[in-house]
Amino acid sequence: MEKNSNIGNLTDIELCLALGEKKAKAEQAFTEIYNRYSNSVYSYILRTINDRTLANDIFQDVFLRFYDACRNGARANKILPYLLKIARNLCLNHFRNRKQTVPFDETLGLLKTEMEVERNEISELVTNALSLLDFNLREIFVLHHYQNLTFNEIAEIIGETLATVKSRYYRGKEKLKTILLPYFNKDY
């Protein structure tokens, strides 16, 4: 318990350093990082590429690459932007290699209970709306709304200026509003 609570108090950079230590310590540090950021990374990938199977593959790849990088001496003051950068590169690779339209998430078709229907309705609505945005607009919107990153942090991750990020964000948001606002009488 003592060990775990110590790990829980470590900063991002300390966790990165711990990953380079002996296996037991590295494993604890990895678990802490995973618990802190896995959902954020997963939601970014899922909502950016809109394909669950592919998102699962890319997500696994992100954490494996991150672990390898830290074992080889890489350091990050903030782990989430670092992870998101890896995720973004892998997503871009996928788009460059495949050049195909975004498939509809098949699992959304499997509904069982009314609660799941409602949950899936939101998920489907968001997925479909986001898929209508270009990748450049979509990723900024996802990073801002899902990861709560500031425009400055986003600019750092995607390597663009603050003005570009803001401009893309508002363009994306306007487009999404046009798509989604007609459905807002449904108490989302």
Partner: protein, 405 residues
């Protein structure tokens, strides 16, 4: 001034205090702007809700940890709250209702059985058997006599009854040895045959009435047994151990064709799939009621209309089902006593809607404790999607076994 832009900036936290004042003043008097603000908040909430619904699938986490040769993480670790929460939500939405309904069904069954026992001991004796002597019982007779007759007569009658029953027993054992069918009556005529006309005539009136009642009751019993009807009010009071003998446990399976027929979710499996487990109670030799539960795939095809577009869905979910059944057989219809036709109806539910079943078949009882069943079953499941009712109909073969204590 474009106040909608100010609202956007305000929600992004990019408004200075002067602009904020301007915006709030306008908001206080402009209802359209208030509506716009509400929409923007809904817009932002939509993505927050979506974010809450996203979590890393457990198998993906397992793959990551396996690839690194790490132990699969304990999901109850303090920082794993989102994953744990998702697990709890799944438990609350899927397993818990089934578990609670199972417990509820069990309680209802227990209460029904308990009421049945209570009624049998009280109502049964106050109505049908109010003035009768239980067939074959020597204990109740002196009590009836003692109310009406003298002590001397009581002793004599006790003696007569004891002797009568001893003779009857001896006769019964003898007939059993010679495999003769046992005459199970205790009428005045029977007494005359056993103990002679004088003694029989000397029996007090109450005992004669009782004996006459016994005969009537016995006739009813025989008639009811012949056609296999429930003998609810005619049962004798019994011990708890003998009551257990009427409790049945059943397991059955089925091979049913489905309408609609959907070939998806074929990899979803469970130990209970296509199996029904029941606990029942024998109301009579051919009548059984009880509670049954199990799991089964119910193919579904339905449409959802959203945002003006209709999408057709098909799925084949494995659903937990539960409910009560009533089963009635017809005894002595065939030459072979072990074989009898039975019919069963079932009413219950699933997490998506009500379920009804009906089946007819043959029951083979080689031993009083074990029965095998083979029959044809039809079931119908109703479920609702967007105010539209859909059905899944299934029919086919069912087979199973029932055991008794």
């Amino acid at each position: 001034m474009d106040y909608s832009k100010l609202i956007d900036l305000y929600l992004e936290g990019e408004l200075n205090s002067v602009e904020k004042d301007l915006l709030f003043k306008e908001l206080a008097r402009n209802s359209e702007l208030q509506e716009y603000l509400e929409q923007q908040i809904q817009f932002n909430n939509l993505f927050q809700k979506d974010m809450q619904n996203i979590s890393v699938p457990a198998d993906v986490t397992n793959n990551v940890y396996s690839s690194l040769n790490f132990k699969i993480p304990n999901m109850s670790a303090p920082k794993a709250a989102p994953i744990v929460l998702t697990g709890l939500q799944n438990f609350a939405s899927r397993v818990l209702p089934n578990l609670l309904s199972g417990i509820f069904g069990g309680l209802v069954t227990f209460v029904l059985l308990w009421l049945f026992f209570l009624n049998r001991n009280q109502i049964g004796y106050n109505s049908v058997m109010e003035k009768s002597v239980p067939v074959g019982s020597a204990v109740e007779v002196p009590k009836v006599v003692a109310n009406k007759e003298t002590t001397t007569e009581k002793v004599n009658i006790e003696k007569v009854v004891r002797e009568t029953l001893e003779k009857w027993l001896a006769n019964y054992l003898k007939s059993k040895e010679t495999n003769e069918p046992q005459q199970y009556t205790s009428s005045v005529e029977q007494n005359q045959e056993l103990i002679g006309p004088t003694l029989a005539k000397n029996m007090p009136l109450s005992l004669r009435i009782n004996n006459a009642n016994n005969r009537a009751v016995q006739n009813k019993l025989n008639a009811a047994r012949d056609i296999g009807l429930p003998l609810l009010s005619l049962h004798q009071p019994t011990s708890f151990a003998s009551k257990l003998k009427d409790i049945t446990f059943g397991v059955r399976s089925y091979l049913l064709r489905s309408e609609p027929d959907v070939k998806v979710n074929l990899d979803e499996r469970s130990i209970l799939a296509n199996t029904g487990i029941s606990i029942g109670y024998n109301l009579g030799p051919s009548t059984n009621i009880g509670f049954e539960f199990g799991q089964e795939k119910f193919a579904q095809k339905y449409s959802l209309t959203r945002y003006g577009e209709t999408t057709y869905y098909k799925q084949n979910p494995l659903l937990f089902w539960y409910g009560f059944y009533f089963q009635q057989g017809i005894a002595n219809l065939f030459r072979w006593e072990e074989l009898k036709p039975i019919a069963r109806i079932f009413l219950g539910g699933t997490p998506v809607g009500p379920l009804a079943r009906g089946s007819v078949g043959l029951q083979y009882t080689p031993d009083e404790r074990v029965s095998f069943y083979l029959g044809w079953e039809a079931s119908i499941l109703g479920y609702k999607v967007q105010d539209k009712i859909y059905q899944t109909k299934k029919s086919g073969l069912t087979y199973g076994v029932t055991v008794k204590y």
